[in-house]
């Protein structure tokens, strides 16, 4: 298959698998097999594509908005470039892990509507592929909306009143920002540049003055609600009512990363790093990101609910990536891109662990975890590794991306930001490390000694979380290939 066909296949495969999942709704085993097989196939396809990325294969499917006198037609089209490919690789790789994990989790929890769950999951992955490979802003916007809509049923999965309320917040913020902000920004870009294609070096250079660029960037940054920049972050903690696999893949990887990926991609291919760096139009974004980063970490400290604490941690980590883009130096942008991978791997592990704790020990609060490490050693070992990676300590992958980001602040001479990064890392330690420490070193409370179900979660849950934890370590050693892979995006 030609690379062009592979891209289309990568987008369609999850969607086809979603249809198959619905078709097999009577037979759960077959249904889960479909999910796993498509996960494997998808990873293979995306893997094959990495080989041909230098050629930048691109394909247009259909013209959606016909061109007029001064504006080009806009098509639904895909292309493969390093940043998107990396994102696709992460999402497809972790989809397999999550699928295995969800099978264990959903069955041992006896959840309702499992077919709807797996179907929507597959559609969401398809949307992520679409976002990763989008050739222009319209295509990206399309799949961005598909992702929002397909994850809504996952968020409200329990159907309880709380879940529905959370679902409304989720949909309201994500849809609202995307329509009012993102769509408007896209249209404005179209008016200014006459095209929406992602081009190396950007398309806006020469069409805008710094002030307009700043405003446009603001529309993009706040229009992308999925990036959870404060004050538009509320949907993320709300979405934690979802089953843990959903929180793990979608709210640690797919959805939020789709947000920051959009911002990165807009920064690199629409504005161009030169334009951002030169005009200083992104300076304000640095401070918003820095503020988000710090305050989210502080809020995370105060949360006792494990998943909620992780959610605030995610908000803070996303801000790192936005910060990387807004610094607009080569190393910071690459650092931002790399942080997508590193954080994805770390955070998904943390969520897996949270889910495993829920399944194995029925605990949701940090304060309930005392002494649990002895009963669930694998889970908490994985948790420790992932936490270290998120904090950014060697020998975990997370240290490289943070290093590059710090380098970026130094290059720009933004010393206060460097300080912010350092403080935030300390805060990371403060809110993440107590969890394994409590689990391993505190005595378990004596009252519920005899409570049943205190052991490891099912194997289907434990194996994926060990694998992703191992991934965090492996990434430490793979950082250079990723760096090389990404470094081509910043040049024209």
């Amino acid at each position: 298959m030609s690379p062009e066909c592979l891209i289309v296949a990568a987008v369609l495969l999850p969607l086809i698998s979603a249809a198959l999942v619905v078709a097999c709704h009577q037979r759960p085993n077959l249904r889960e097999t479909v999910t796993l097989v498509s996960g494997g196939l998808l990873l293979a396809i995306v893997g094959r594509l990495t080989g041909s990325v230098d050629a930048r294969p691109a394909i247009n499917l259909v013209d959606v908005i016909p061109g007029s006198i001064d504006q080009a037609a806009i098509a639904i089209g895909f292309h493969a470039e390093p940043l998107g490919l990396l994102f696709a690789l992460v999402a497809s790789g972790l989809w397999i892990a999550t699928s295995v994990y969800s099978i264990g989790y959903m069955r041992s929890h006896g959840e309702q509507h499992q077919t709807r769950f797996f179907c929507c999951f597959a559609v969401a992955i398809g949307a992520v592929m679409g976002i990763a490979f989008a050739r222009n802003l319209l295509t990206l916007f399309l799949f961005y909306e598909v992702l929002t809509l397909s994850t809504y049923p996952l968020v409200t999965h329990h159907g309880s009143e709380a879940a529905k309320r959370a679902g409304r917040t989720y949909l309201g913020i994500l849809m609202g920002t995307s329509i009012v902000g993102l769509l408007l920004a896209i249209l404005w870009t179209w008016q200014l540049a006459g095209t929406l294609e992602f081009k190396a070096g950007g398309i806006l250079d020469g069409h805008v003055d710094p002030l307009t660029a700043g405003l446009l960037l603001a529309l993009f940054a706040f229009g992308t609600g999925k990036a959870a920049l404060m004050p538009l972050h509320r949907w993320l903690p709300a979405a934690m009512v979802a089953p843990t696999p959903v929180s793990a893949l979608l709210h640690a990887v797919a959805v939020v990363k789709a947000g920051v990926f959009t911002i990165l991609k807009v920064g690199v291919y629409i504005f161009g790093i030169d334009l951002l760096g030169r005009g200083g139009s992104s300076v304000w974004l640095m401070y918003v990101a820095a503020a988000t980063l710090l305050s989210a970490s502080l809020v995370a400290l105060t949360r006792d609910n494990l998943k909620e604490r992780l959610a605030y941690s995610t908000i803070s980590q996303l801000a790192y990536i936005v910060l990387g883009m807004s610094l607009a130096t080569k190393s910071s942008v690459i650092g931002g891109g790399m942080h997508i991978v590193m954080h994805a791997c770390g955070k998904i592990t943390l969520f897996f662990c949270a889910g495993a704790i829920l399944v194995g020990a029925h605990k949701t609060r940090v304060s309930q975890l005392d002494g649990l490490g002895r009963k669930m050693p694998w889970t908490f070992a994985a948790f420790t590794i992932a936490a270290l990676s998120v904090i950014g300590l060697p020998p975990m992958g997370g240290c490289w991306s943070k290093w590059l980001l710090a380098l970026g602040t130094v290059e720009m001479g933004q010393w206060p930001l460097l300080a912010v990064l350092m403080i935030s890392s300390l805060l990371n330690v403060a809110y993440l490390m107590p969890i394994p420490l409590r689990a391993f070193f505190r005595e378990p409370p004596e009252t519920d000694d005899e409570s049943p179900g205190t052991g490891e979660a099912p194997l289907a849950c434990v194996i994926p979380l060990c694998l992703t934890a191992a991934g965090c370590v492996v990434l430490f050693f793979c950082a250079d290939p990723i760096y090389q892979f990404l470094s081509s995006i910043t040049w024209k």
Partner: protein, 514 residues
């Protein structure tokens, strides 16, 4: 067949078919005949649009009875008219083909033939309005269309339909009387009723329209700067705004659409306001002209705020409705706001957006009302409470609703997105920032009212768990709904037909190009 006779055939066919329908008496026969007629109309409309689109002049003209314009009545169709006719006849054909099934619950069988006759008359009236190039003839056909729609609406199952029809009758008659006054005043100052002739004479000076030796104060004044013409324009516009249900003259519409038989809501939602919009375009652009409407009168300063109010207020009201049909009806009022907004920009891009939205919204809203009809075949209640869990009971039906709803919101790949895209980019192009923001805010409100239905159907459990077995609407009905809503998907992806034709039509309305 002689293709030159098509324009008249378009109107005469349903007009003469109506009495035939009456004679057939048997419900099934009359229905079959009506379907046949509407399908032929569709065919004629498609052929006409094809001819127009490929003709050099971009329009066809037909002199009725061979009496030359401006003495006789002329039929004149350009791309815009062709497009509107196509939508009109397509919706009529689809609606009629399922009408019998839908009517079973709502109108006793022995009155079906009367119903179909009225339906065809309505179709004839609407086609006549679009085709004619004579202002008074517009009034006559407007009355045919209006009278038949009053009757059709009054056929609704509940007695509220009667009141709604009466209110509509009063409002509609006021509207058409205003239009009649406007026509009269315009005729008074020009001496003609033919639209093209009228447009030309309006720009002449007073001394050339008066006879020699008349005592006029200001002989060099162009006719269109007289107060009389100004009043004519005002009355025409207000009358049309009533027919169009432009905010704040929309009061009749929600009641009418929500109580009429679903066949009727389906048909009227997609056609009658669209045709009124068409006439508004004709009046503002073809007859009075750009310079008069937007330069001298400054209609945009009135229409833009009204359109935005329509979008925001009607969408907000839609959010608080408990009945699906009322939600859709208020949404229609909002969508009319989008149409008028496109017009009020007075730019080619804005006009294109308006025309494209006319096309798209007609398909969407008819499709959605048809879905409501589908639901009504299976259960009596159409409130948000009673459709709880319907996503599982009628999966295909509700899926169609979701498609239409996404179109109303303007999600990409639906045709609703294309029209909003064009509208917002037209606003940006002319530097109307605030308008652009308000338009997207309107979409946001659409998210809310559409989502309330979707949430009820998919994510709320029914109060009484009577049956959870899938039990979709009858296949024919479902197919018709999917044809219309599928078309919104197709035209959301392959946009050449509506956008291409609309661009050319807008160009000719603006006086650019041909």
């Amino acid at each position: 067949m002689n293709l030159e006779q098509l324009p008249i055939l378009q109107v005469i066919l349903p007009l003469l078919a109506a009495p035939c329908c009456l004679l057939l008496r048997r419900s099934r026969l009359a229905w079959g005949f009506a379907v046949l007629v509407s399908c032929s109309s569709l065919l004629i409309a498609a052929t006409q649009l094809h001819i127009i689109h490929h003709s050099a002049s971009g329009s066809i003209s037909y002199e009725i009875g061979g009496w030359a314009a401006p003495w006789g009545i002329e039929y004149r169709l350009d791309r815009l008219g062709g497009l509107v006719l196509l939508v009109l006849t397509a919706i009529a054909a689809v609606t009629l083909s399922v009408a019998r099934r839908l009517l079973q619950e709502e109108v006793p069988e022995e009155r079906h033939h009367l119903f179909f006759a009225t339906f065809l008359l309505c179709l004839a009236g609407l086609s006549g309005i679009v085709s004619t190039g004579d202002l008074f003839n517009v009034f006559v056909f407007l009355e045919i269309a209006s009278l038949s729609s009053y009757v059709l609406i009054s056929m609704g199952r509940s007695r509220r339909a009667l009141v709604a029809a009466f209110q509509y009758l009063v409002m509609g008659t006021i509207g058409s009387t205003f239009i009649l006054i406007g026509i009269g005043l315009a005729y008074m100052m020009t001496g003609t009723l033919n639209m093209a002739d009228l447009a030309q004479r309006l720009t002449m000076t007073l001394d050339s329209v008066y006879a020699e030796g008349a005592s006029i104060e200001n002989p060099a004044l162009p006719v269109n700067q007289t107060r009389t013409i100004l009043a004519a324009f005002a009355f025409l516009t207000v009358g049309l705004a009533l027919k169009l249900a432009l905010f704040p003259l929309h009061a009749w519409l929600p009641n009418a659409y929500a109580t009429a038989p679903t066949v009727v809501s389906t048909f009227l939602a997609g056609t009658s306001t669209k045709v009124a919009y068409y006439v508004l375009l004709r009046v503002t652009f073809t007859i009075f002209g750009l310079a008069f409407t937007f330069g001298q009168v400054g209609l945009q300063f009135l229409l833009t705020p009204l359109a935005i109010m329509a979008i925001l207020v009607a969408s907000t009201i839609a959010i608080y409705q408990g009945d699906i049909r009322r939600i859709l009806a208020y949404s229609s009022v909002a969508q009319i706001g989008y149409l008028v907004l496109g017009l009020s920009f007075a730019t080619q891009a804005g006009l294109t957006a308006g025309i494209v939205h006319l096309f798209n919204h007609a398909l969407m809203k008819s499709g959605l009302f048809l879905v409501v009809g589908c639901i009504a075949t299976r259960q009596a209640g159409l409130t948000l409470e009673s459709i709880r869990g319907l996503g599982r009971r009628m999966p295909l039906t509700m899926a169609a609703f979701v498609v239409g709803g996404l179109g109303l919101i303007g999600v990409p790949l639906t045709s609703g997105f294309i029209s909003k895209w064009l509208l917002v980019s037209a606003a940006l192009e002319s530097g109307r920032w605030l308008v652009a923001v308000l338009v997207v805010t309107g979409s946001l409100l659409a998210v809310v009212y559409v989502w309330r239905v979707v949430e009820a159907a998919y994510f709320l459990e029914p109060d009484d768990k009577t049956t959870s077995e899938p039990h979709d609407a009858p296949a024919g009905l479902l197919a018709a709904a999917w044809v219309l809503l599928g078309a919104t998907l197709v035209f959301g992806i392959y946009t050449d037909l509506p956008v291409g034709v609309a661009r050319e039509a807008a160009a000719s309305l603006m006086g650019v190009g041909s």
